[in-house]
């Protein structure tokens, strides 16, 4: 069976819903001056296990399913959902969603196109990929390993989670597509203590894969080492500097810079409304010529990847900035249509009970010409930040922040000592023009990112090579 057939069997058959029923519901939606409409069926299994104080205290399992019904009329969206997948609930939701328009002429449905894309990840259920006993044992091994690494470790918290998500999206525009999405995540959090000073370290990773991912290349234990290393580094950290300075950002997860400084501001909804600092700047220089930034939802097994987005559109690689010039926005169907461009496969939603909107997938900067060592050697005095806790942006003013939780001073071209965490703040389009060196060491993050927008969380990826930014404000205390 292909994915559409599997999803149909999983989502529609138990409710006795036929394709004819869906056609009728969509027909009812469209009969009321509605340009288009779609139905989004979803069933999600989620489990998590957590260890602390040396014992796996808690396991939890969650099963959610439901259907979201959306009606679109010009710039208007009507939306309703039900956590019962049954015909009367579907009809009731459709009736509510079309409340945005009362009158109008009937429209016809397009012929459904059922051509599944090549999957970017396994269709296997990660929850079944390992016995519960083995999940518990894995957490135990990680705990023992962490405690063996250093006697200063006083607390270890490990969490393991898996998601198995099946979606089916059926639209009046001919969309009839499905996806089966696994997602796993492991996180290790460590508290260390030395002479009364306590510090924490945290590391982890994940992928659209099964739990085997954490055993390959010993990943689980590499995270454990990294969490301990980071906590011990923080024990030695001195106060971070305050003020405007040169900042070198390490490869991988520090690419959160691009997510905040560039990515959100290039989402189609903000640009259609003209509320983004990047609005109306297509074709203009918005970054230094060293910068080429893409959003790519097609990377195999990545946390931010999707075979199709939540509107049934195949994901793609979208060039956002090419050699410093603004080239593209991220679009869902609604905003693409209103801006008269093609959708880019970035229409995403947290679940059936949320409205789709343009969202990032994996956002990263392509490698440049410089050796990472040369970048650090070029800085007389500055900050080298390699790990971050998160960030946020005001897309209208362009102000963005991201908070380092592992950083070092650079003095006379050398990394000298660790400093405490500090928030970095800048103005997106401004900071991007101050990227003066780009390394050849592109790396993507470990698969830990979650992006929040208008109350909706979705998994994303980021990445970048080592880069040097002149003039970022560093929010230390010294």
């Amino acid at each position: 069976m292909n994915r559409v057939e599997i999803a149909t069997a999983r989502l529609l058959s138990p409710a006795g819903l036929s394709v004819n029923d869906l056609e009728r519901v969509l027909g009812q939606l469209l009969g009321h001056r509605i340009d288009s409409g779609d139905l989004y069926f979803q069933s999600v299994q989620h489990e998590s296990f957590s260890l602390e104080d040396g014992i796996v205290k808690e396991g939890s399992f969650n099963l959610d399913h439901g259907v979201g019904v959306r009606a679109i009329s010009g710039e208007k969206t009507g939306f309703a959902y039900s956590d019962d997948i049954i015909l009367p609930a579907l009809e009731q939701a459709a009736k509510a969603a079309r409340g945005i328009a009362q009158l109008g002429q009937p429209q016809s449905l397009c012929v459904w196109q059922r051509q599944p894309q090549v999957a970017l990840y396994t269709e296997n259920n990660p929850l079944d990929s390992m016995k519960t006993e083995d999940k518990v044992a894995l957490l135990q091994q990680i705990d023992k390993y962490v405690r063996s690494l250093d006697p200063r470790v006083i607390q270890v918290m490990v969490s393991l989670s898996g998601v198995f998500d099946t979606i089916l999206v059926v639209g009046s525009d001919g969309t009839f597509n499905a996806d089966i999405r696994p997602l796993v995540r492991l996180n290790v959090n460590v508290i260390v203590e030395q002479q009364g000073r306590r510090e924490s370290g945290s590391a982890g990773g994940g992928a659209r894969s099964t739990y085997d991912f954490f055993l390959e290349d010993n990943r689980a234990f590499v995270y454990a080492q990294d969490a301990v290393r980071q906590a011990l580094v923080n024990l030695e950290a001195v106060d971070a500097p305050a003020g405007n300075m040169t900042v070198v950002l390490g490869p991988g997860w520090p690419g959160i810079l691009l997510h905040e400084a560039v990515g959100h501001g290039l989402e189609g909804d903000f640009n259609r409304k003209g509320s983004s600092t990047f609005s109306g700047r297509m074709g203009e220089r918005v970054a230094s010529p060293l910068c080429t930034v893409v959003d790519d939802g097609t990377l195999l097994n990545r946390r931010g990847s999707l075979t199709i987005d939540d509107e049934g559109v195949p994901t793609q690689r979208t060039v956002l900035i090419e050699n410093g010039i603004l080239k593209g926005y991220l679009q869902d169907k609604l905003n693409a249509k209103l801006m008269k461009v093609a959708p880019t496969g970035n229409g995403r939603r947290e679940s059936f009970s949320h409205i789709p909107m343009p969202r990032m997938t994996n956002t990263f900067m392509l490698p440049g010409p410089h050796q990472p060592e040369d970048i650090i050697a070029s800085v007389e005095k500055g900050l080298y930040a390699v790990n971050f806790g998160g960030g946020s942006v005001d897309i209208t003013s362009g102000k963005f922040v991201f908070s380092a939780n592992e950083a070092y001073l650079i003095e006379n071209g050398k990394i000298t000592r660790p400093v405490k965490g500090a928030t970095l703040i800048g103005n997106g389009p401004d900071v991007m023009t101050k990227i003066v060196m780009v390394g050849n060491d592109l790396a993507l993050d470990e698969g830990i990112g979650t992006c929040g927008k208008q109350g909706q969380s979705v998994p994303v990826g980021v990445g970048q090579p080592t880069i040097r930014v002149d003039n970022l404000t560093v929010g230390g205390t010294k």
Partner: protein, 442 residues
Amino acid sequence: MIEFINESQYQQIVHDMLTMARKMGASAAEVGLSSAVGLNVTVRLNEIETLEFNRDKSIAVTVYKGDRKGTASTTDISPASLQATVLAALNLAKLMEPDPFAGLALMSDMATEKLDLDLYYPWDLTVDNAVRIAKACEQSALDIDQRMKSDGATLNSAQGYHVYGNTHGFLGYYPTSKHSLSCVMIAQEANAMERDYEYTLSRKPDLLESPEKIGRAASHRALNRLAARKLPTQKTPVLFHADIAAGIISHFLAAISGGRLFRKSSFLLDSLGKSVFPPHMHIYERPHILGGLGSAPFDSDGVKTQDKDIVDKGVVKSYLLSAYSARKLNLQNTGNAGGAHNILVKSTGEDYAALIKKLDRGLVVTELMGPGINLVTGDYSRGAAGFWVENGKVQYPVHEITIAGNLAQMFKQLIAVGNDVEKRSSIQTGSLLIEEMTLAGS
């Protein structure tokens, strides 16, 4: 418009699941059910932008097999699904490791007395009416100035129903409602755009501020941010405006919560009985305020909530503990599973204008950005925007700066609490004046 929540059915479900769990071999069990229905309308440029009907429910069961614990939840309340959910929790519990501290709260702590906290005021709101109110709000905002650009006005009305039961025979339930109107405006001038918003929030629809007032305030706030400047790096006193001051108090509450304490993940370990704030500081928890945004008759363990002083004369008088964290720490349960319920911070008497005078020269923060809080060490570093004050007067808006310090020290240096109390939060505090922080800028 909003469909009726089936209260007796939900109580029955919780009861049935507890019975099921017992029959299937649980030594103890607890079940929580939350349900909400609502309407959310956003209007932009005098047209509906989104019309959303919300209808959520979720039911979670925790079962114990002796010292072992398993949890499962679902949105599907069909009998087959409820049984499968209990079974999933039991299967997990069997395979977890024994935890001597696991289990229900004490039977004697259950909230057996029924309290009506006046939390439920459903709004018979039609879509047309909701649209009309949101449009009025947006129009008032746009009428303020040519430089305004709308990012929409949103009316949200929701009602919820909460049930919690456990195998002590406790079954508690209460309905709630919450209504809000918000408006987001962008002020444009030259090449700069600044966004800001205003909102009103209440359990009772007739206590919401007028749409016109909210719209106008949103525009004024956005306009006030235009022509913001950067500031040089310096040490400065900082006044956290009441709008955002609850955040500072919430970091304190997080640092004295049981989960962080037994995990040794707090900078306030062993702070009970110690002076954390100056002597003028009093922080109270009052869970039974009628109509209060944080009011609740029982916590998420079914334990009765009660009035208590958390900080008295600057000294920590109580942690925030659940049944589990209390056992871990060998302390009395405080009825705070799930957090605090209505926190009141006593004012030192000054109004906002007096605080600006007292600040004399320094920063007023009206917006904070990013994470930047390390509760293990208390280190604090966040993006900020606000206003610069000199000679006791607001001079100009500022942006693209950070403020940093350590929470332990910031608490000690909290020299004044305004009487301009923010009522839209379950943490009610006035503006907070902190003696010195590091401001980083240009």
